[in-house]
C-alpha cells in the first residue's frame, strides 16, 4: 500500500521529532511506534492531497501530551511525596539514561511542553511558522511568543556555549 510507503519515507523525520520531544532515544522510538500504529488505524481520516507529515506530527504530539498527563497522574497517585521531583521516573535505567543526556537534551527537557513542541517543530523540523501553528492548532501569535520564551529559556539553560 502506498500509505505505508509514504509513512516509511517520512519515518526518519518522525523519529527525529519524537527524539526532540522525548527524554531519550528509546522513549522517542516508543512514541514513534505508538504514533505509527495510531496513524495506520486512523488512515481513513487522512485526506489525500494534504500533508501526511503534518498529520503525523499532530498525531505524535497529541500522544506525547496524553502520555505526559498519564505520567503526572500516576506520579500523583503512587508517590505524592515525590511529585514534581521525578514525575514518575525512577530506577537505574532512568539514572543511566539521564547521565548519557547532552546539554541540549537536558535543556529541552526542562522546557514547558508548549514551548518544547514549538521549538521542536520550527528549529529541529524546520517547519514554517504557519505550518507549525497549524500542527499545534494555535494562532501564529501564540506560536511566536512560545518560540521567544522557549529560546530565551534554552539560551539561559545552555549558557553562552549555545
Amino acid at each position: 500500500m502506498s500509505f505505508e510507503r509514504d509513512l516509511l519515507a517520512i519515518l526518519p523525520r518522525l523519529r527525529r521529532f519524537a527524539a526532540s520531544l522525548s527524554r531519550d532515544r528509546a522513549d522517542g522510538d516508543d512514541l514513534c511506534q505508538a504514533a505509527l500504529e495510531r496513524g495506520l488505524k486512523a488512515r481513513d481520516q487522512w485526506q489525500p492531497g494534504t500533508r501526511l507529515d503534518s498529520w503525523m506530527y499532530r498525531i505524535m504530539r497529541n500522544l506525547w501530551i496524553d502520555e505526559a498527563r498519564a505520567r503526572q497522574r500516576a506520579a500523583k497517585t503512587f508517590a505524592p511525596e515525590e511529585a514534581g521531583a521525578y514525575v514518575g521516573h525512577a530506577g537505574d535505567r532512568d539514572v543511566e539514561a539521564h547521565m548519557m543526556l547532552s546539554d541540549v537534551d537536558r535543556a529541552m527537557q526542562a522546557l514547558p511542553q508548549e514551548q518544547r513542541e514549538a521549538i521542536a517543530l520550527v528549529l529541529v523540523e524546520g517547519l514554517s511558522y504557519k505550518e507549525a501553528a497549524a500542527v499545534l492548532g494555535v494562532p501564529m501569535g501564540t506560536l511566536t511568543s512560545r518560540l521567544v520564551r522557549g529560546r530565551g529559556a534554552l539560551l539561559e539553560l545552555m549558557g553562552e556555549a549555545a
Binding site: 527524539a19 532515544r25 547532552s102 521549538i119 521567544v148
Partner: protein, 230 residues
C-alpha cells in the same frame, strides 16, 4: 536605541521576514553590537539544536518501526534489505581493541573501515576512506557496511563527516586525507540498540564540539564532494 524586538530577531533567524522587514532588522543589527551579539546567539542556538537531532533522521530506522509498517502493508510488502550487521562482528572486536589502545598498528590497510597511523595521527584507510570520499548520506542504502552520518564544516574551516559501521566516529578532511578525530566501537549488531546509542551520544558530542553552524544538507554535501572536500 532600537525598536527591534526579540520576536523580530528570531523571525529573521527562522527566515520568516519579508524583504522589507528583513532589511530593516539587518540595518538595525549592523548599527547595534548588542543586537548583533544577540542575533549571533540565536543563530547558533538554532544551528546547535538542528545539528543535535539531525543524526536521528540520518541513521537507519530501527527494525521494530519498519515492522509496524510491514505488518500493515499486506498487499505489497515493503522491500527490506537483509542487514549485514553480522559481518561486522569481527570489525567490532577490532574496534574494541582499538579503543583499548591495542593492536592499532596492525590494522593498517586491512579489514572493513580501516584506520591506520600516519605521523602519530589516526587516518582513514581502505573502505572507510572510500566511504568518506564518495558516499553521500542522502543517497545510501540501509545496509551499507559503513554509513555516513553528518557532513559539516568545522570551526576554523574544513569538512568533517561522522560515520558508523564496525567503527563509529568523526573524521575531518586534511590535505593528505581523512584524519580520524574519534574512533569508537560502532553499531555491532542489530540487537545492540543500547550499545549503538551510547556510541551515538559520544559521536554527537564530538560533532557538537567541532561544528561551525548547521550541518550540510543533501545539496551541500554533494557540492562539497564534487569539490573533493576542499
Amino acid at each position: 536605541m532600537t525598536d527591534i524586538g526579540e520576536a523580530m530577531l528570531i523571525a529573521l533567524v527562522d527566515g520568516e521576514l519579508d524583504e522589507v522587514n528583513r532589511r530593516r532588522v539587518e540595518r538595525a543589527v549592523a548599527a547595534d553590537p548588542a543586537l548583533a551579539a544577540r542575533l549571533a546567539q540565536h543563530r547558533s542556538l538554532r544551528a546547535r539544536l538542528a545539528g543535535h537531532y539531525a543524526p536521528v533522521a540520518q541513521e537507519p530506522v530501527p527494525d521494530r518501526l519498519r515492522a509496524v509498517l510491514e505488518e500493515s502493508a499486506t498487499v505489497a510488502p515493503l522491500v527490506r534489505p537483509a542487514p549485514r550487521w553480522r559481518d561486522w562482528a569481527m570489525g567490532g572486536a577490532i574496534a574494541a581493541s582499538l579503543v583499548l589502545g591495542l593492536g592499532l598498528g596492525r590494522m593498517s590497510g586491512t579489514g572493513p573501515g580501516s584506520i591506520g597511523m600516519r605521523d602519530g595521527v589516526m587516518v582513514a584507510r581502505g573502505a572507510l576512506a572510500t566511504a568518506l570520499d564518495t558516499q553521500l548520506a542522502s543517497a545510501q542504502g540501509v545496509d551499507g557496511a559503513i554509513r555516513i552520518g553528518l557532513t559539516f564544516q568545522r570551526q576554523g574551516g574544513g569538512w568533517c563527516r561522522s560515520f558508523d559501521g564496525p567503527i563509529a566516529g568523526v573524521a575531518c578532511r586534511e590535505e593528505e586525507g581523512w584524519q580520524v578525530q574519534q574512533a569508537l566501537p560502532g553499531a555491532g549488531s542489530q540487537t545492540a540498540y543500547r550499545q549503538a546509542s551510547s556510541a551515538d551520544a559520544r559521536v554527537m558530542a564530538t560533532v557538537d564540539a567541532l561544528i561551525d553552524g548547521a550541518p550540510a544538507d543533501a545539496a551541500g554535501e554533494k557540492a562539497a564532494q564534487a569539490k573533493g572536500w576542499r
